[in-house]
């Protein structure tokens, strides 16, 4: 009887503690806004996770972790670049930590899954990636897309390539075999004829592939005027290194259609970077006061390394969420969303606005030309911005026909 009594007392204490914790959590939620950064701290993009986290922190530090009169409580979870893991952890954070706002992760396939969680839980969510579906056929009111549309990226890459290589007739495509790659491949095949180019061949490779010789042999046999790569991170760096080994570049150009910029280029020897055209959502030398302030703050965190696309995207997504809260002067996700839908202003990218019909953030896409070793002023002076494209996707091509309500 005594043992039962002790057990009952124990349970009662535990229940009381749990209740107190819930009450404290609810109290904290009144004073704080919880923002979740769901980043890949392990898995195929583990090297990018800390960079993303740093980028988000810079955005928060610049506003002193405050927006709309509220304190921002920033928490992180590991997405592992797995849709199942990311959605489970996002849901746990929403249930357990009272998350109302989310940014991340770093893969289109995972981002699409997290977007569903955001909609189901009425959480405001910002993502950056190559899939066109987030602001296309799977659009909804709770999700915003920071990266340029796939259409904008491909159009800029092909237009600049043709301008610089007017005699070029054909390109060969290396495509990362997931949502991001498929989106850009669709527009490459659609837009190539407009620029007088044919597609000499297309090979899709798995995410995390490390041996590209078989693909390169096929591409070389097709004798294209350029190889256009629609892959990212270590995949892109490894492929480019091996393309160089095969002697394709620098004789012929390679287009990195969707590059992280600094993080990828820095891994390549200057000889490997010759005759490259690099398309990217961000490059650290973008000349405006907002970007200069970001680069300076980020470099203090990174030991002097300038930000590439990943930290800039995390910064931009976080800033978009903060702008929504600030403009609405409210920590209610629906009010912040409505406020952000009419946003127009200057960001690290230059003039930026939000398309309220699709939740695509209208922003430029950048084309870089890499520098030779003798042209580089220092080890991070990797490229020059040679084109800034604001050609937006024609509305008839966007499959977001009705973004719906809350």
């Amino acid at each position: 009887m005594k043992r039962v009594s002790l057990a009952m007392k124990g349970m009662a204490v535990a229940a009381t503690l749990a209740l107190s914790a819930t009450a404290m959590s609810a109290f904290a939620a009144d004073d704080e806004v919880v923002l979740l950064g769901i980043w890949p701290f392990s898995g195929p993009y583990a090297d990018v996770g800390p960079l993303l986290d740093n980028g988000a922190q810079v955005a928060l530090e610049q506003v002193g972790y405050k927006a709309g009169g509220k304190t921002i409580k920033y928490i992180t979870r590991d997405s592992e670049t797995k849709a199942g893991t990311a959605t489970r952890r996002a849901q746990e954070a929403i249930d357990g930590e009272g998350v109302k706002f989310m940014v991340g992760p770093w893969s289109s396939g995972v981002g699409l899954a997290v977007s569903d969680v955001a909609q189901k839980n009425k959480v405001m969510y910002a993502f950056s990636g190559g899939t066109e579906d987030l602001s296309g056929k799977r659009c909804h009111r709770y999700t915003f897309q920071w990266a340029a549309p796939a259409y904008t990226a491909v159009e800029a890459n092909l237009r600049v390539f043709k301008k610089n290589h007017p005699d070029a007739k054909s390109i060969y495509l290396f495509i990362a075999d997931y949502a991001f790659g498929w989106s850009l491949q669709k527009y490459a095949e659609m837009l190539a004829p407009k620029f007088g180019l044919t597609i000499a061949g297309v090979d899709r490779h798995p995410l995390g592939h490390r041996e590209f010789s078989s693909y390169i042999t096929k591409a070389v046999a097709a004798n294209p005027d350029a190889i256009m790569m629609v892959n990212f991170g270590i995949d892109a760096v490894t492929a480019l290194r091996q393309i160089y080994n095969f002697g394709f570049t620098p004789k012929k150009p390679v287009i990195m259609a969707w590059s992280s910029g600094t993080e990828e280029l820095i891994q390549l020897d200057p000889e490997m970077r010759e005759n490259l055209q690099v398309g990217t959502n961000y490059y650290w030398t973008i000349d405006n006061p907002e970007n200069k302030a970001f680069v300076e703050a980020y470099r203090k965190k990174s030991g002097g390394i300038p930000p590439g696309y990943a930290p800039a995207a995390a910064y931009g997504m976080t800033q978009a969420i903060l702008a929504g809260i600030q403009l609405a002067n409210s920590a209610e996700p629906q009010k912040a969303i409505e406020a952000l839908e009419s946003y127009k202003g200057k960001t690290i990218l230059g003039e930026t606005s939000v398309d309220a019909k699709t939740h695509q953030i209208n922003r430029p896409y950048f084309i870089l030309k890499t520098k030779s070793k003798s042209e580089m002023k220092d080890e991070y002076d990797l490229a020059t911005v040679i084109d800034e494209s604001s050609v937006q996707q024609p509305p008839e091509l966007n499959e977001c026909k009705d973004i719906g309500g809350f």
Binding site: D47, P206, V220, Q267, D269, M272
Partner: protein, 286 residues
């Protein structure tokens, strides 16, 4: 199409020989010590990073490939003497946990020492550029790599089959208790076998640098492939590890012709078929 198939066979051979080097190292350790060395990928990565560092210090790729893998042996000595050896008598689970932990520690150590961002190593000048083979142009370094790995495997084969130490190693892989009973210091044999496996992994890592580059996760990328090699080869079969390394390399590259998206899966399909049709592996007896 014939040219394309011939080119892909060459690609498969070059990649496969590299896989074979890693696979032989793993199978030696598995055959002798009866433990799956999860740290093998980490040792492969350390070989690459040591090579990179020595290239930067000396400017000589050849010197780096000679010295880098020897430094991996030092890492292997520490792992074996401070961890693996203490767990020989313990339950198998402890060895697995220790080596799994070592794999993580080695990867994190790379990030701490060299940073999270990857690097490239240029091919040495004499082996840079391409060779026109008539049916395709092919990087000179990859052709040299095929030659180098053939020489290394022949040397290893001679060492294991024509020397007394090699005979002890092979005997240990067959029946280590019997070797111990015959008066051989089995712990010393274990240590040197572990070191030899690590050396081969480090050598493969060093040779791979101009092709694969360097990233902290490169060991984790290679580890599953090396285990597939051992499963297809059969436990402790060195000849089998060489053959299955080449087989996997060729399977990957040939898949690229008709179904590029499946090139990674192809090797696991091969492994699955081997387990179903010949559970002891293509060259295994136990």
């Amino acid at each position: 199409m014939t040219f394309l198939i011939a080119s892909q066979l060459l690609n498969g051979l070059a990649t496969g020989m590299l896989y074979a080097l890693v696979g032989v190292g793993l199978t030696l350790v598995l055959g002798m010590l009866n433990i799956p060395n999860f740290a093998h990928g980490g040792l492969y990565a350390f070989g690459a990073y040591f090579t990179y560092t020595i290239v930067n210090l000396t400017g000589s790729f050849y010197l780096a490939v000679l010295i880098g893998p020897l430094l991996v042996i030092l890492v292997a000595f520490v792992i074996e003497s401070q961890g693996v050896r203490r767990l020989y008598a313990a339950h198998h689970d402890y060895q697995l946990l220790f080596l799994f932990a070592m794999a993580l520690i080695l990867q994190e150590a790379i990030i701490l020492i060299w940073g999270p961002v990857g690097f490239s190593v240029l091919t040495p000048k004499a082996l840079s550029g391409v060779v026109n083979l008539g049916f395709t142009v092919y990087p000179a370094y990859r052709l040299a790599l095929i030659g180098m790995t053939v020489l290394i495997t022949v040397a290893l084969w001679l060492f294991l089959t024509r020397t007394n130490i090699g005979a002890i190693v092979r005997a240990g892989m067959e029946n280590r208790e019997m070797v111990a009973v015959l008066g051989t210091d089995i712990n010393r044999v274990f240590m040197w076998t572990f070191a030899l496996g690590a050396y081969l992994a480090g050598l493969a890592g060093g040779l791979a640098t101009p092709i694969m580059g360097l990233t902290p996760s490169m060991g984790a990328d290679m580890l599953p492939i090396s285990f597939v090699i051992v499963v297809i080869a059969g436990l402790g079969s060195i000849l089998g590890a060489i053959a299955s390394g080449i087989l996997i390399g060729i399977a990957q590259s040939m898949t690229t012709i008709w179904w590029p998206e499946a090139s990674n899966i192809a090797i696991y399909v091969l492994m699955g078929l081997t387990i179903i049709l010949r559970p002891q592996g293509l060259f295994g007896t136990r």
